[in-house]
Amino acid sequence: MRHLILSLLLSLVLVPVAKGFEIEEQSRFGPGETTNVLRVLSTADLAFIRPMLLPFLSKYPDVAVEYTVASSSEVMKAVFDESQSYDLVISSAMDLQTKLANDGLALSYTSQATQSLPDWANWGDQIFAFTQEPAAMVLSNKAFEGLELPRTRQELLSVLRQYPELFDGKVGTYDVRQSGLGYLFATQDARTSETYWRLSEVMGLLNVRLYTSSATMIDAVVTGELAIAYNVLGSYAMNRADKTAFTIVLPSDFTTVMLRTALIPVTAKRTDLAGRFIDHLIERTNEAGPSLLQLGSADDQVDENSLRRIRLGPGLLVYLDKFKNRSFVNEWESAILQE
């Protein structure tokens, strides 16, 4: 195993701009001189994918994987607009994945593994979920010293209202205009509860700071720059080494759960390898049991009833509508920017 990993040809090269979309990083794993190359386009960084990728490579030693990381909008662009030839697309942007499939840009695939998936994890045999990642509140332990930790959005509201001086400028969340995931979380929040808009207004009053990624938000909490990071990807927070600095809270009123999904684009050349990789991802996440949950170590907090899995399907297309997008962003701006 170790030998295999060492023998991996590991390259971190920014590909020359022959492509019309921006990529963040590209790596190649596996034997160099093989014709079996699986080209994966993904929004997940290498650190995230590596634990799933390495077993696959050892299982199929003659297969090489070319792994390209790009932002969700660039992924969309690559597949949708430029018809780049990738064999597999992995994305956390469920709405965009849905649109790709809905617009006929995904191939159908069925196997024993895909059939074992629960209904909510499989849309039309084209989109397959292989992780569940909750949107969490990350609270700085230092800032909340002596305070009771809020467990729900209402409690968070109360805390923010009660101690405005404590949290002014120390609350962070996604900029929905910049981050697809932030937009997905925000729209789902808004759809589920009116509390979201009150929370947004209060955060706006407290001069909320806006971010484009979960990692930077968590960093800010660790450094003390932020006391509260709202709607952060729980999976990122759980895997950090400096977990003692903060507490991850999955709101018990409801926890929005994002599903990371894979699909095979119509332009795929090695659909066989892509299918094999999908099976591998599903089996991998199923190893722990049938729940498919990867909610991390905060098990004690997880209440299945409070989980709101974002549903794959045409409902997600609503937020991609330009009218809807415009009106949502307008409303969000007026709430959070206090202009």
Partner: protein, 459 residues
């Protein structure tokens, strides 16, 4: 042996075939009806949901500051996704100007001005069902029409329909099977009275010609009534032929008896040898004709009875004792010694009157042909599965010429010319024996004399 029945077709088969054809037609009809109803219901429900989706979008369109704003509700599309994983397309247009959604999705325009139009079309290589809804909208001074088209692929629909189709096929097939089963049962029960009638008629003895009285279904009434009337006529005609034979015998014999009696009386009175000779010849002629008539009538009666044989158990030794007793006077008259030999207990199945007649004929012949101081022995022997009635005499025996068949009707032994007899005797005996499944054998004994053996299957 029953005469051959010519068979053409079968009511039961015909009935089953007709019922099956009917069932098959109904099953096919059922299949198409169920399928078309299912298709219609599926289409209607899809149309309704598409219309609801489009309505939800239209309801959320508003004009703010002269500009159109549409706040698509999440449910507008999620409700479409509830049913199945169908793809969803939509397009929003204002006065044919594309606003949002999929620009290549064109609304279907109906000829009428109905605000709701449904249609099916090909979109991006797949069949879709679309619903287009219009609503007038006011943008400041000018007004326009807002058009929302929502479409959905029909993949799941098709799968559902295929399932329905399979289900309706199963329904049709089960219906057919059930009907086939019922048809078989119905045909069987419909023809059962016929079988019952046939069985009851064939169970009857040959002499049982009573009308069928058990109730029968109305359809069989003509058959049964003509059967009854046929049996009535048959019974009548059988009775008539029996009566005719008896009557004929009576008519022939009575005058013969008068003449014979008178002749005998006359013979006692006349003295002249030539006159006596004449009268004697007269008597002989009368005897001959009366015997011929008798045997002809007997032959008719035997034929008649043999055709309607109603077997009963017959104790052959007892029958022989009775017959010998009754023929004793005749044998004594000729000084012939008529004796009963071995009588082994045995029973045969047959018509007592016929058997008696046959045995009487044989013994009668023996007495008549055995000559002066003759001897006739009658015995009954068991030979395995057969019972043999043996009549032996010490007369001249049968003629040696093997060419001559004594059994042939009217044939008579040449060496017995002097004795009155029509020759029908052995023919009648043979006929009776064969009607009982037996055989008649006659031979000459080595020490002289004839031996006639009647063999019957024992019971």
């Amino acid at each position: 042996m029953a005469p051959q029945v010519h068979i053409k077709g079968s009511i039961r088969r015909h009935l089953i075939t007709m019922l099956l054809i009917g069932a098959a037609l109904l099953a096919v009809l059922l299949y198409f009806v169920v399928q078309s109803v299912a298709r219609q219901i599926a289409q209607e429900s899809q149309d309704n949901i598409l219309a609801a989706s489009a309505t939800a979008i239209l309801d959320n369109a508003a004009v703010i500051d002269g500009e159109i704003m549409i706040d698509l509700p999440y449910s507008a599309f999620s409700m479409l996704g509830d049913v199945s994983d169908e793809r969803v397309y939509y397009a929003i247009r204002l006065n044919d100007e594309f606003l949002s959604g999929y620009e290549d999705l064109t609304p279907i325009r109906s000829n009428g001005r109905s605000p709701r139009t449904f249609g099916s079309m090909d979109f991006r290589g797949e069949e879709i069902r679309t619903a287009s809804l219009q609503r007038p909208i006011f943008l400041g001074a000018k007004s326009g029409t807002l058009d929302v088209t929502v479409a959905q692929t029909m993949d799941g629909q098709r799968k559902k329909l295929a399932r329905f189709s399979l289900m309706s096929l199963m329904i049709g097939f089960s219906f057919f099977l059930l009907t086939a089963l019922l048809a078989a049962v119905a045909a069987r029960s419909a023809t059962r009275p016929m079988h019952r009638l046939a069985a009851s008629v064939s169970r009857r003895g040959p002499g049982d010609l009573r009308p069928v009285e058990a109730p029968v279904p109305a359809e069989m009434a003509p058959l049964v009534s003509s059967l009854n009337s046929f049996m009535q006529r048959l019974k009548h005609s059988l009775a008539e032929s029996e009566e005719f034979i008896a009557e004929a015998a009576h008519r022939v014999r009575t005058p013969l008896a008068v003449v014979r009696t008178r002749a005998e009386t006359t013979l006692r009175r006349v003295e002249k040898p030539e006159n006596r000779q004449t009268v004697r010849e007269m008597i002989r002629a009368i005897d001959e004709s009366s015997r011929s008539a008798g045997q002809l009538l007997d032959h008719a009666m035997v034929t008649f009875r043999a055709d309607h044989l109603e077997p009963k158990d017959i104790d052959l030794p007892a029958l022989v004792i009775d017959l010998v007793e009754s023929l004793k006077p005749l044998s004594e008259l000729r000084d012939v010694e008529l004796k009963v030999g071995a009588l082994e207990p045995s029973q045969i199945a047959g018509d007592g009157i016929l058997i008696q007649n046959a045995v009487r004929n044989v013994i009668d012949n023996a007495i008549k042909y055995c000559g002066q101081e003759g001897r006739v022995d009658v015995s009954v022997l068991r030979q395995g599965e057969h019972v043999q009635l043996v009549v032996e005499d010490n007369g001249p025996g049968f003629p040696d010429d093997p060419e001559q068949n004594l059994l042939k009707r009217y044939a008579r032994g040449e060496n017995v010319a002097g004795i009155v007899g029509s020759g029908l005797g052995l023919t009648i005996v043979d006929q009776v024996v064969r009607a009982h499944g037996g055989t008649l054998d006659y031979s000459n004994k080595t020490g002289g004399g004839a031996c006639v053996t009647l063999s019957f299957p024992s019971c």
